[in-house]
């Protein structure tokens, strides 16, 4: 079994994509968030469309907000979501 990360979607993204989580195989040495993003966009047109419609896409790795340059390693939890609207 390959090295994997868990990918989560929240809010409008979750609804558009039609699922709240994925398990994705990545290289053992890790990839950037940007590379992971392109990988899942290619694998699922619904993801590509949802991301394209969200110009201010946010990402968290292991529950910390990060930039798309951040490295992702096997076992990490990666969440994509729209800008937060609490309070």
């Amino acid at each position: 079994m390959a090295d994997r990360v868990t990918v989560l979607f929240f809010a409008a993204l979750r609804e558009q994509i039609g699922q709240d989580s994925l398990s994705v195989a990545i290289p053992a040495g890790g990839v950037s968030v940007q590379v992971l993003r392109e990988q899942i966009e290619k694998a699922d047109p619904a993801i590509a469309q949802a991301f394209a419609e969200q110009p201010r896409l946010r990402v968290a790795v292991n529950q910390t907000l990060v930039t798309f340059e951040q490295m992702v390693n096997p076992g990490d939890e990666v969440a994509f979501f729209p800008p937060m609207t609490g309070g």
Binding site: A60, M84, T85, G86
Partner: protein, 153 residues
């Protein structure tokens, strides 16, 4: 120094939460509080608050620690509700206790401004005509959060 953070479906009790802040220290001279509630209008019936369990609590705790580092406080509280909330229902309780009123009130503003765009909550609105809609992040909210980067304290 006391930090109290909760994410819950149930309503919060403003009297109990303010009293919790008031009694933290005999050196407390004032408690600032902000209560956010579901604002009606345009046929809005309710909102559903979604969040990212685990990250939410971590983000609120980080925010509380930032407030404590930045202002002279005796304690602060952040309580955020999740789930479906009708017009008029409380969404969020933010409170800060301090020896002096300036710190209590400025910390209260800081906490709610930062919480709006800095913790993983999302709101879906539900209208009387059956329409539902995810709330867009407002530029003014992001500006308010960023403005604290330039303020001192």
């Amino acid at each position: 120094m006391s930090v109290h953070v909760r994410v819950q479906a149930e309503p919060f009790d403003v009297g109990v939460e303010t009293a919790r802040l008031s009694v933290l220290s005999s050196h407390t001279g004032g408690v600032g509080v902000f209560v956010g509630q579901v604002r009606g209008g345009h046929g809005l019936l309710a909102m559903t608050l979604e969040h990212y369990p685990g990250m939410t609590e971590a983000a609120l705790n980080t925010l509380a620690q930032e407030a404590i580092a930045r202002f002279e406080l005796t304690g602060c509280t952040l309580i955020h509700r999740i789930g479906r909330l009708q017009v008029g229902a409380g969404i969020v309780f933010v409170g800060a206790a301090a020896p002096h009123r300036g710190a209590a009130l400025t910390a209260t503003s800081f906490l709610i401004d930062r919480l709006k765009t800095g913790a993983p909550f999302w709101k879906r609105e539900e209208y009387a005509n059956g329409r539902t809609q995810w709330v867009d992040a407002r530029e003014t909210d992001e500006d308010a959060a960023r403005a604290w980067l330039l303020k001192n304290p």
